[in-house]
C-alpha cells in the first residue's frame, strides 16, 4: 500500500542549516532509508546520506529519527502512523559535515589510542585452544558494527564537548571488556581503562544499551564488569590484603599491566 510520507530532514552544513519539509511516496515494508533514497533520486539529488549495506550489518547509516539515535535502514516506516511526520537529523554528538552526514573521526581517534590483543605463543601443534564458554562473553562485544549510536547518545560527550578528550565512550569500553575477558590475552588493561579511557566518567545511565542495534548489553556485560574489575584492582581492601599475604587470583596470572 503506497502513501505519501511527510518527512522533515535537516539540511545544512557546519555554517548552519535547518529542518526542511518534504513529501515522498513510500510503500509497504519500507524503511526510513528507502524514503530518503527516493527523495534523493527524485527531488534532492545532492542530499548527503552515509550508508552502505542497508541491512543493519555495517553501521553506516546512523542518524536520529524523531530525536532517537537509530540506523535508518532498520527503522521501519510501519512503526509510525502514516499521517505522522518523521523527523530525521544527523547525529547530534559529532560535528556535522553536510545534511545527514557527520564527522565521526572522534571514534577513529579513540580507536587509535586503544590497546590491542596481545596473545602468548601458540600451542606446540601451531594451533590455539580456547573453550567456547571462555570466548562467548567477548563474542558478544565483537558483534559491534561500529555504528557509533552508543557514542552519539552518551551524554558524557553529547552534552559536554570538553569531555571528548578524556573519554573513550561505550563502544571502546566494550573493547576493553572484550580484551580483559579474552582467555589468552596477556595484558592487564584495568589501569588504562580507568585512567586513559575515562571509565569513571560513565554514570551507567544505560542509554548506550538502549540504542544498540545489535542488542549488546553494553552496560551490564561490559561497563559494569569493567568497573568491578577496576574496583578489584584499586578499591577492594580484601583483594589488596590477599595480594599482600600471597593469596592471589590465579586466573590473572601471566598478565602484565600496560
Amino acid at each position: 500500500m503506497a502513501y505519501d510520507l511527510k518527512l522533515r530532514v535537516w539540511r545544512g552544513d557546519r555554517d548552519g542549516g535547518d529542518l526542511q519539509d518534504y513529501t515522498v511516496e513510500v510503500s509497504e515494508g519500507e524503511v526510513v532509508l528507502d524514503a530518503l533514497h527516493r527523495l534523493q533520486a527524485t527531488q534532492t539529488g545532492d542530499l548527503a546520506i552515509r550508508w552502505n549495506c542497508k541491512a543493519g550489518k555495517c553501521g553506516s547509516c546512523s542518524a536520529e529519527v524523531n530525536g532517537r539515535p537509530r540506523l535508518m535502514c532498520m527503522t521501519r516506516l510501519s512503526d509510525f502512523e502514516p499521517e505522522e511526520t518523521i523527523t530525521v537529523t544527523p547525529m547530534r554528538t559529532f560535528p556535522v559535515i553536510r545534511d545527514l552526514v557527520t564527522d565521526v573521526s572522534f571514534n577513529y581517534r579513540k580507536a587509535r589510542e586503544l590497546p590491542y590483543a596481545e596473545l602468548g605463543p601458540r600451542d606446540a601443534d601451531g594451533k590455539r585452544r580456547m573453550m567456547q564458554v571462555d570466548v562467548e562473553r567477548g563474542q558478544e562485544f565483537r558483534k559491534c558494527i561500529e555504528c557509533f549510536l552508543c557514542q552519539d547518545v552518551c551524554h558524557v560527550v553529547r552534552d559536554h564537548e570538553d569531555n571528548k578528550q578524556h573519554f573513550a565512550g561505550p563502544r571502546f569500553f566494550i573493547r576493553y571488556a572484550e580484551l580483559d575477558m579474552h582467555p589468552l590475552d596477556t595484558h592487564d588493561r584495568r589501569k588504562l581503562a580507568q585512567e586513559a579511557a575515562g571509565l569513571g566518567m560513565c554514570n551507567i545511565t544505560k542509554c548506550c544499551t538502549e540504542v544498540c542495534p545489535e542488542g549488546i548489553h553494553i552496560t551490564d556485560n561490559a561497563i559494569i564488569p569493567m568497573k568491578e574489575r577496576v574496583v578489584d584492582r584499586k578499591y577492594d581492601p580484601l583483594v589488596w590484603l590477599g595480594n599482600k599475604i600471597g593469596i592471589r587470583n590465579k586466573d590473572n596470572e601471566g598478565r602484565a599491566e600496560v
Binding site: D46, A48, R109
Partner: protein, 615 residues
C-alpha cells in the same frame, strides 16, 4: 581551509600541493579496505613499505562485513581427513575446472595459516569441544571446513584486520574515491588520482605499486546482495590502465536472497541455513532439489530425503543433501521452480529451517538471520519458512593476475579479492572468498612491497595525467539539462537483471549490448546538481562509468561463450561443452577507449601431480 589535517582521518591534507591538488607519497597504495585490501596493506607494511589504504567508505564498513558463513580452510579441526588437496579438488570441481589451478592450489595450501593468524590478532572464532576453531558445513565442500563466528564471520574478519591495521599504524584515506590510475611515460604505474567524498577536493597519491581490492560489480544488477560500493571500480580502473579481465561472463547468483519486502529484495540469506539443516520447498511443499541433481555430482549427493537427513549426523556413511550442491546448481533449480509456477506469493520459494531445528538452535547458530527476518520482514524464522530467491552475489571474473604475486599485466598494478579473476573459475564455493581475500591479500602486499624495494627509480606522476583525471572527474558538472545519473543507473540495473541475468540467450544478450551502448551515450551527457561537497549524485555519476564498462564486459563475454557452465547459463546452449572447458575469455579496453574487445585464451595447464586428483 587552514586546517591541514583531514577531519575524517587526521591525514595530512596538503603534504605538498601542486595546481591546488593535494599530493601524497607512499610506496604502496591499496585501493579498498575490505578483507583483501586490509590484508594486503598489513603485509606490505610488515614488509617495510610505506603503505596507505584508500577506501570509499569509512574504515570497517566494506562489503566484507556482509559475509556470513565462514572462511574455508582445511585445518582438519572437525575432520582429520581434510587437507589442502581435498580443498583444492572441491574448489576446482566447484569452478567446473575453469579455475587457475595454481591459484586454487595456493589458496588451499595457505588458507589455514591465514585463519590462525587472524586468531593471533584477536579474532574470536566459535570453538569445537576441544577448544579448536570450529568448522561448519557448506555447499560444495566435502568436509565441514568453514571457520566461523555464528553467521557474522565477515564482521569478525574485517574488525580483526581493521584493528591490526590501526595497531601497526597504516594511514587510511577514508571516504576517498579513486577515479584514475596514473602511469608514467614508460607505462609503469605511478600513482592514483581521486577525490575526497566529503569535500570534493582532488587528491593525488604517488606510489609505484597499487593494489586493487575494490570488490565486485553487483550494483549493476537490480536484485543483488551487494552494497552501493560494488560498482566495479577496480575492474574498470584496471581496464582503463591497460590490464585485462578474465572470466567476466561468470556471475554468481546466490540461491537464497530475501524476496520480500521490496526494499530488501536481494538481501543475502546465508548458506549456513542449509548447512545447518534448512531445506528448500516449493509451493506444493515438495523438497524439490532431489529433482535437480546433475550427473557431475550424482555420485556424492544423496538421492533420498532419509539419506540426506542422516548426513547431518553421520557424514561417513551418507551422501550430502542436494540443498548443499554448489550455488550455481541450486540457483538454477530455484529459478526453474519459480518459472514453473511453483513459487511463493512474493515470487520466491521456501527455505525452511523452522520445521527441522528447534528454536534455540536456530537462534544460536543463525543470530543475524533471525534478527534480519524479524526486523525487516516480520518473519520469525524459528516458526515459519523464509521466502527466498536468487540474488546477484559475486563476480568470478576479474583482473587477470599472476597467481603467485597477483601482478596484473601493468607494471606495478596488483589485484586481489573479488576484483581479481581466475581463482574461482566459473563458480565460487561458499566460504572460499574470505580465504581468497586473506591468502592473496597477503601475497599481493608482499609482492608489491618487494617490487618497490627493488626499484632504482620511482615512476613519475606526470602533470598531464593529473589534469586529465581532474577534467574527466568534473565533466558531469559541465553539462546542463542532461540525464540524472540515478535514472541511468536504474535502467542499467534493470537491463542487466532482465537480459544478462541467471538464464541467458543470444538474443537477449545482443539486446542488452544495444541498450548498454545507448546508456553509454546518455552517460556522456549526464548532469548533476549541487556542488562538490559530499554530493552523492556526482559520486554516482563517476561510479556509473565503471558500471557501464563492466556491464559491457559481462554481456560481451556471456554472448561469446556458447555453453552453460557454473555461473553462466545459456538457454540456447544448455550443455557444458568440453571444447569451451579449455579456454578463458579475456576482455581488454578497445583502441578508442570507449568499449571493450574480447579474445579467447587457452587455460593454463595443470601439472600431472595435481591432475591425478581428478582421474
Amino acid at each position: 581551509m587552514t586546517d591541514t589535517r583531514h577531519p575524517m582521518t587526521g591525514n595530512e591534507m596538503s603534504y605538498y600541493a601542486e595546481g591546488g591538488i593535494e599530493r601524497h607519497r607512499y610506496d604502496v597504495v591499496v585501493v579498498g579496505a575490505g578483507g583483501a585490501g586490509l590484508r594486503a596493506a598489513i603485509a606490505a607494511h610488515e614488509a617495510g613499505a610505506e603503505t596507505a589504504i584508500v577506501c570509499k567508505s569509512l574504515l570497517g564498513k566494506a562489503h566484507t562485513v556482509m559475509a556470513e558463513g565462514g572462511i574455508a580452510a582445511a585445518m582438519g579441526n572437525r575432520w582429520l581427513e581434510d587437507n589442502w588437496e581435498v580443498h583444492f579438488r572441491d574448489t576446482m570441481r566447484g569452478g567446473k575446472m575453469l579455475n587457475h589451478w595454481r591459484m586454487a592450489q595456493l589458496h588451499a595450501q595457505e588458507a589455514p595459516e591465514r585463519v590462525l593468524e587472524l586468531e593471533d590478532w584477536g579474532a574470536l572464532f566459535d570453538r569445537t569441544e576441544d577448544g579448536l576453531i570450529s568448522q561448519r558445513d557448506f555447499g560444495g565442500h566435502k568436509y565441514a571446513r568453514l571457520a566461523h563466528v555464528g553467521d557474522r564471520t565477515g564482521l569478525e574478519m574485517i574488525r580483526t584486520l581493521q584493528q591490526r591495521a590501526v595497531q601497526v599504524g597504516i594511514d587510511v584515506f577514508m571516504e576517498c574515491t579513486v577515479t584514475d590510475l596514473l602511469k608514467d611515460d614508460a607505462g609503469a604505474l605511478s600513482g592514483v588520482f581521486g577525490y575526497w567524498r566529503e569535500t570534493g577536493r582532488f587528491v593525488t597519491i604517488e606510489a609505484p605499486a597499487v593494489v586493487l581490492a575494490t570488490g565486485g560489480i553487483g550494483k549493476s544488477f537490480k536484485v543483488t546482495s551487494n552494497s552501493w560500493e560494488y560498482t566495479g571500480d577496480g575492474h574498470a580502473l584496471a581496464l582503463r590502465a591497460g590490464a585485462s579481465l578474465i572470466n567476466m561472463e561468470f556471475v554468481q547468483f546466490h540461491p537464497t536472497g530475501m524476496v520480500w519486502p521490496p526494499s530488501v529484495k536481494g538481501l543475502l540469506v546465508t548458506e549456513s541455513v542449509r548447512g545447518d539443516g534448512g531445506v528448500l520447498k516449493n509451493s506444493e511443499g515438495k523438497r524439490f532439489m532431489f529433482d535437480y541433481i546433475p550427473d557431475f555430482f550424482r555420485a556424492e549427493t544423496a538421492d533420498t530425503e532419509e539419506e540426506a537427513d542422516r548426513w547431518y549426523d553421520d557424514k561417513k556413511n551418507n551422501r550430502r543433501p542436494p540443498e548443499l550442491l554448489p550455488r550455481d546448481e541450486v540457483a538454477r533449480a530455484i529459478n526453474s521452480e519459480i518459472k514453473a509456477g511453483r513459487g511463493s506469493p512474493h515470487g520466491g520459494i521456501y527455505l525452511d529451517i523452522a520445521s527441522r531445528r528447534d528454536p534455540d538452535f536456530i537462534r544460536k547458530r543463525l543470530p543475524s538471520m533471525y534478527h534480519q527476518f524479524k526486523e525487516l520482514a516480520d518473519v520469525d524464522i524459528t516458526q515459519e519458512p523464509m521466502e527466498i530467491g536468487p540474488t546477484c552475489h559475486y563476480v568470478m571474473g576479474g583482473i587477470e593476475v599472476d597467481p603467485d604475486t597477483e601482478l596484473s599485466s601493468v607494471t606495478g598494478l596488483y589485484a586481489v579479492g573479488e576484483c581479481s579473476g581466475g581463482m574461482h573459475g566459473s563458480n565460487r564455493l561458499g566460504g572460499n572468498s574470505l580465504s581468497d581475500l586473506l591468502v592473496f591479500g597477503r601475497r599481493a602486499g608482499e609482492a608489491a612491497a618487494a617490487y618497490v624495494a627493488g626499484l632504482a627509480q620511482r615512476p613519475a606522476v606526470t602533470d598531464e595525467s593529473v589534469r586529465a583525471g581532474e577534467w574527466s572527474a568534473l565533466t558531469p558538472f559541465q553539462v546542463e539539462g542532461g540525464d540524472n545519473p540515478y535514472t541511468i543507473q536504474q535502467e542499467l540495473q534493470q537491463t542487466m537483471n532482465d537480459l544478462v541475468g541467471i538464464i541467458r540467450t543470444a538474443e537477449e544478450l545482443t539486446q542488452a549490448l544495444v541498450r548498454i551502448e545507448e546508456l553509454k551515450e546518455r552517460a556522456q551527457r549526464m548532469s548533476v546538481e549541487g556542488h562538490r561537497q559530499y554530493n552523492p549524485g556526482w559520486h554516482l555519476a563517476l561510479d556509473l562509468r565503471n558500471m557501464l564498462v563492466v556491464s559491457e564486459s559481462i554481456a560481451k563475454a556471456a554472448l561469446a561463450r556458447r555453453e552453460s557452465r557454473g555461473g553462466h547459463t545459456r538457454d540456447d546452449y544448455p550443455k557444458t561443452d568440453p571444447e569451451w572447458g579449455t579456454k578463458n575469455l579475456v576482455v581488454r579496453l578497445d583502441d578508442a577507449g570507449t568499449g571493450v574487445t574480447l579474445a579467447e585464451q587457452p587455460l593454463p595447464e595443470m601439472p600431472d601431480d595435481l591432475l591425478r586428483h581428478f582421474q
